[in-house]
């Protein structure tokens, strides 16, 4: 068994002292692997990522229970810049680039000197950014913004890359390319990736392990290949059940099985 880089145990996060966003989430991210965290809207995926990468005091969010261990350090309640300097880099879902800065300045902003990931190397992965260098990042297309955001994250010298909704608002062909590129980058640079996705198909296709969240809890987990072929996961999250016999209207309208919490 490989080393565990990140371990989350029984995590509970409360916003504004009243709203519990996740409850008892546990997950493990082995070093060098890609782990997908999938689930529907409001399942608590983003909150889990944010708890790992740190909250600003102004967000009024608190980890009320559980432990997050990164390497051999307990990192509950660290500030985002402390986590970033420790190599935990988040690509957020929205506002992932500085719209009022040029592409070049965005990359410079993130760059921490040293390390093997140079600007040339990042531009090698995303050649499109070279052409857009002097443009304001606010005017980039969604796909270009995502590339810039990942480029910035790479220049921060990550050990663990957290990506929130890589596929959000992008065309299927762009998603496919980006996922393939992410897989390549993580293998070439030896990065560990925790990927949060609603698009479970795309995420599980490149992941080694997968966790499924529902209503603030983890309900399934396992090897990505097992999840893809799991009948419950297929039906609830991947679209379409395994069998293909014609169904009556009543069967289609509701799930064949009741969802159960396995967490």
């Amino acid at each position: 068994m490989t080393d565990i880089l990140l371990q989350v145990r029984q995590l509970e996060v409360v916003y504004h002292r009243v709203a519990t966003a996740v409850q008892g989430v546990s997950l493990e991210v082995p070093k060098g692997s890609i782990v997908a965290l999938v689930g529907t809207n409001g399942a608590g995926k983003t909150t889990t990522l944010r708890a790992i990468s740190g909250f600003l005091p102004s967000e009024d969010a608190e980890i009320t229970d559980g432990d997050i261990t990164y390497g051999d350090r307990r990192i509950n309640g660290q500030l985002p810049h402390q986590m970033a300097r420790a190599g935990v880099i988040l690509v957020p879902e929205r506002d992932k680039v500085f719209g009022t800065l040029s592409v070049e300045d965005n990359l410079e902003f993130a760059a921490r000197g040293g390390g093997e990931i140079t600007l040339e190397r990042v531009l090698g992965y995303f050649p499109l950014l070279t052409q857009r260098k002097s443009q304001l990042a606010g005017y980039l297309s969604g796909g270009e913004k995502q590339m810039l955001a990942i480029g910035m994250a790479l220049l921060c010298r990550p050990t663990l890359l957290l990506i929130d909704e890589l596929s959000l608002g992008l065309a299927p062909i762009v998603i496919k390319d980006l996922m393939a590129l992410l897989h390549r980058i993580s293998k070439e640079l030896g990065l560990t990736v925790l990927l949060v996705e609603q698009n479970a198909n795309a995420a599980l296709a490149i992941a080694d392990f997968g966790y499924v969240m529902e209503g603030g809890r983890v309900v399934f987990y396992g090897k990505a290949s097992e999840l893809i072929s799991h009948p419950d996961v297929r039906e609830f999250y991947l679209g379409g059940a395994a069998q293909s016999e014609t169904k009556s209207y009543r069967d289609i309208k509701q799930y064949r099985r009741k969802r159960r919490w396995w967490g």
Partner: protein
């Protein structure tokens, strides 16, 4: 020529104040109502440091004013503003009003509200065509202001810290997630703003006088910033020039008593025609 020189120097004083206001607004969406007080206290500190060193060297008072700016900037941000993040914007504004009152009392207690003129010991030197005389102090005002703005431009445009500064002003959370200590950047904003204010206070104290009444230059500076657009450094200079011209012309042509009221008249005019200021961005208005 005399009027041109006066306007230029007045512009410098106000532009420095307005620049600080703009930087603070951009960095933390705070409108600082204590800026005039900070400027005058900066001037007093400069004066006192000069007295303490026996008035022999300029380095001591300059160092005094710089140290004052650094300590004051760090203190205001770390002890007060940092805790107000996430509160409604008017909370921070009211706190700055409070800081202003405290500073004004401090002037009374420490300096006994003496009217002081900063004399750096250089005599009027240059005779200009048209009969105007410029003291070294005047020339230094212009040179220092230009140097400050040039430095600011180079800092924001070309240094990595400057880029991080601009990014933090746009999105503090993302900046933090990219490894930037947001608290450091925002305290730096306060330090730079107070440094500019102190310089302005010293220049003002050199030409006119320091007293608890002279804190009204803060309102002229704020007007300059609002006229130019609260989120534009270029606007700060333009606004300062407009306020300086209007004030000078009123003193000359109408009545010196009115000079204090002029900035507000200007403010009313600009706010009713172009509420986002001359160089400001229109969308910015929605946030205030």
């Amino acid at each position: 020529m005399e009027f041109a020189a006066t306007i230029v120097i007045l512009t410098c004083t106000y532009a420095l104040l307005a620049a600080g206001t703009v930087i603070l607004y951009k960095a933390g969406r705070v409108v600082n109502f204590a800026h005039g007080e900070l400027a005058i206290v900066g001037g007093y500190v400069f004066y006192s440091a000069g007295l303490m060193s026996g008035g022999t060297s300029l380095w001591f008072p300059v160092a005094g004013a710089v140290v004052f700016s650094i300590i004051m900037g760090m203190f205001i941000y770390m002890a007060m503003m940092r805790r107000l993040v996430g509160e409604p914007f008017y909370v921070a504004i009211l706190v700055t009003v409070g800081i202003g009152i405290v500073l004004k009392s401090a002037i009374l207690v420490i300096w006994r509200a003496e009217r002081l003129t900063i004399d750096v010991g250089v005599t009027p030197a240059i005779r200009m065509a048209g009969g105007a005389t410029l003291s070294y102090m005047d020339i230094a005002s212009v040179v220092l202001t230009v140097a400050f703005f040039a430095g600011l431009y180079l800092f924001f445009r070309f240094t990595r810290l400057g880029v991080q500064f601009r990014g933090t002003a746009e999105n503090a959370l993302l900046a933090s997630q990219r490894g930037v200590d947001v608290n450091f950047v925002l305290s730096l904003a306060w330090v730079i703003a107070i440094l500019a204010a102190s310089l302005s206070g010293v220049l003002y104290g050199g030409r006119a006088f320091l007293s608890t009444e002279s804190v009204t230059i803060g309102l002229a500076g704020l007007t300059a910033a609002l006229v130019g657009g609260l989120d534009s450094l270029r606007g700060a200079v333009a606004g300062a020039f407009i306020v300086a011209c209007a004030q000078y012309l009123t003193v000359r042509l109408v009545d010196p008593v009115l000079s204090e009221a002029v900035p507000f008249l200007l403010l009313v005019i600009v706010m009713s025609i172009r509420p986002w200021g001359l160089f400001g961005t229109q969308e910015e208005l929605d946030r205030v």
